[in-house]
């Protein structure tokens, strides 16, 4: 079942009098449960692609269906709600809220939710479970500046998953980690993908992490490279070129 369906996505940026085209007619379908790596060198457009998939930015042209629903033409708050309910984010620089401890950082997206909220006790139980899943149980009361890079990224992963999103977007999540920690983080995301069925889209330009991917989408100069699209890395992985 299609979770992300991009058709003819173009993204232009205006830099003074110059227009820079970051994406040039990208077509991409990601199905539920996939673990996809978007590969490409710096400036290839992978972050722009992830921003558009994550509803952080809107395309200049093209259409985007998220879980079968068109995303374009929504106002800021509607997009915020989509991000809150359907998408989790993992950032290269972890992006935790420095004044909140581990528990508070993880539960934060749920507390900001519009409308009916989960009872505090049930939320706290889930937060602790999730923190346990990512190996943070001993650090629940720690603030981000009291954690290592790997631990911070684990907090970010737990925060991304607490809203039970359909899709988790990870923009170069290992770029600021040493290789051993990077391996652990990727293993963790793979495990969560397999056990919880969460769809992951993972951007990187680090070839060392490629061997973990079930599907690799190569992007260069704002286009998906034809030779790589649909590249299946393991038997049974559902990939499809469009």
């Amino acid at each position: 079942m299609n979770l992300v369906e991009l058709r003819g996505i173009t993204k232009d940026y205006r830099l003074g009098r110059t227009t820079v085209t970051a994406l040039r007619g990208v077509d991409l379908v990601i199905q539920k449960g996939e673990f996809t790596v978007v590969m490409g060198p710096s400036g290839s457009g992978k972050s722009t692609l992830l921003n558009i998939i994550g509803c952080l930015d809107q395309p200049t042209a093209g259409s985007y269906l998220l879980d079968g629903v068109p995303v374009g033409e929504r106002d800021f708050d509607k997009l915020a709600e989509v991000r809150n309910r359907k998408i989790g984010f993992i950032f290269q620089l972890f992006n935790l809220i420095p004044v909140l401890d581990v528990i508070e950082n993880i539960e934060f997206p749920c507390l900001m939710r519009k409308g009916e909220r989960e009872p505090a006790s049930s939320l706290r139980r889930r937060v602790e479970e999730l923190a346990g899943d990512v190996g943070l149980t001993p650090f629940l009361k720690h603030k981000p500046d009291e954690l290592s890079g790997g631990q911070r990224q684990r907090v970010a992963i737990a925060r991304a998953l607490i809203t039970r999103p359909e899709l988790v977007l990870a923009d170069e999540p290992t770029a600021n980690l040493d290789s051993a920690t990077s391996e652990q983080i990727i293993e963790l995301m793979l495990k969560l993908n397999q056990e919880k069925g969460v769809t992951f889209v993972f951007s990187t330009h680090d070839p060392r992490v490629m061997h973990h991917a079930r599907r690799v989408v190569h992007i260069a100069d704002g286009k998906i490279a034809p030779q790589a699209d649909g590249e299946a890395r393991s038997p049974g992985a559902v990939t499809r070129a469009v």
Partner: protein, 408 residues
């Protein structure tokens, strides 16, 4: 909302030094605002009391047109000073005392010295109930005394000019109501440094009403009735009740009408105070504006992260407004407490002051009212939020993708 309050609270303590500087500015502004307001409240109360209990009384009754012609102290616009008339006034609720008077101009002579002066003829007993401070001003000798029907009190500058001291005799000369010159001999039984607050003419004398009635050939008459009212905030009620009692040929005026300059002075003082307070408050709010601008700039990526996880624009706006309001709340509360403490310290003993050109001291008992404290507290919180409106708005209008890309 609770999560936002928690984050706001922690953010305020995040950059302690900056928050402390901002808090100090709010604290100082509020301390000054409360301190100066308290001092001015005390000063204005002293002025009001000095005028009401030392000069005018709370309410006055005159023949219609008297106040307009008051500069000439017209004797033909007179009224009865008998018990029938005064008793009617005394019977009005909240009227506690009634005193008949005659203000007039004349000359006072001693030996070869004659000085033009202003006189007020007073009922020695009734006046002490309407304007007790008038008698308290007598520093040498004694105030008017019903047992001494020819004894008068005069200002020190007048006595100096005449070369007279308490115990000496003087003659008062003036035209009666028909324009015929008349004179009486009297004795100086007391002297006072100044006739009252804001009195332009320092050469003033108080003489017993019966003696003045004889001098002015106005037996049983006066030109002014001064009335004491208790409590003082019932003045308007008393004025309204008195009008039908005395009839249409008389005018009833509150002390505000008689001594309008006091309200003018109070208004001008308040204007200056508000200006000073607003300057201090403005400086403090500029501090908050600066702090919040810096905070938004430093936390751009954090704002982007919040937006990414689904925080809405109005929540971002609320977060920064809350942080500013917290600074206003804490700084305001501390400033109010300090200001109140200072006022409380001086409220009992009072502050002794002397106006420029005056020879007498006044004691000011500063005080502050609960509505002012509440209003100032609200202003400090709301003002802080208003000062933070622009930076908070900037924060809420950031585009998530750009905010996330910030290196700040």
């Amino acid at each position: 909302m609770f999560a936002l309050i928690r984050i706001a609270l922690r953010n305020v303590t995040r950059n302690r030094r900056r928050s402390l500087i901002t808090l100090s500015a709010v604290f100082l502004a509020l301390t000054v605002m409360v301190g100066v307001r308290g001092l001015l409240n005390g000063l204005q109360a002293t002025i009001r009391e000095g005028v009401v209990y030392g000069q005018t009384g709370a309410v006055q009754v005159h023949r219609k047109g008297f106040l307009k012609a008051m500069q000439g102290a017209p004797l033909d616009l007179d009224l009865p000073a008998d018990e029938a008339f005064l008793g009617k006034i005394r019977a009005v609720p909240h009227v506690t005392a009634v005193a008949a008077r005659i203000p007039f101009g004349g000359m006072v002579n001693h030996g070869d010295q004659t000085v033009f002066s202003l006189f007020t003829a007073l009922d020695p007993v009734a006046e002490s109930k309407v304007c007790p401070q008038r008698y308290e001003r007598v520093k040498v000798g004694r105030p008017l005394d019903p047992a001494d029907p020819t004894g008068g009190d005069f200002t020190t500058p007048l006595l100096s000019r005449l070369g007279v001291k308490v115990g000496d005799g003087v003659a008062i000369l003036t035209n009666d109501r028909d324009g015929v010159l008349n004179a009486v001999d009297m004795k100086v039984i007391g002297s006072f440094p100044e006739p009252g607050l804001f009195a332009a003419d320092k050469k003033v004398g108080f003489i017993p009403l019966p003696l003045a009635q004889e001098l002015l050939r106005m037996p049983g008459r006066a030109t002014e009735v001064a009335i004491a009212v208790d409590p003082l905030d019932r003045i308007d009620e008393v004025v309204a009740a008195l009008r039908p009692v005395v009839g249409p040929e008389y005018e009833v005026s509150s002390w505000h009408d008689v001594a309008g300059y006091v309200d003018e002075i109070v208004k001008n003082q308040n204007l200056v105070l508000n200006l000073i307070s607003n300057i201090f408050l403005f400086m403090a709010l500029l501090g908050i504006l600066n702090t919040m601008l810096m905070s938004v700039r430093e936390r751009t990526r954090e704002i982007g992260t919040m937006m990414a996880v689904g925080v809405r624009r109005r929540q971002i706006l609320a977060l920064f407004l809350l942080e500013a309001s917290l600074l206003g709340l804490v700084g305001g509360a501390l400033g109010l407490a300090a200001g109140y403490g200072i006022i409380h310290h001086y409220a009992g003993e009072g502050i002794v002051m002397r106006a420029v050109g005056s020879t007498t001291d006044i004691v000011i008992h500063p005080f502050i009212t609960a509505p002012f404290v509440a209003r100032t507290f609200v202003v400090s919180i709301v003002g802080a939020a208003v000062a933070a409106l622009l930076p908070s708005f900037f924060a809420s209008r950031l585009r998530p993708v750009e905010a996330l890309g910030s290196v700040a």
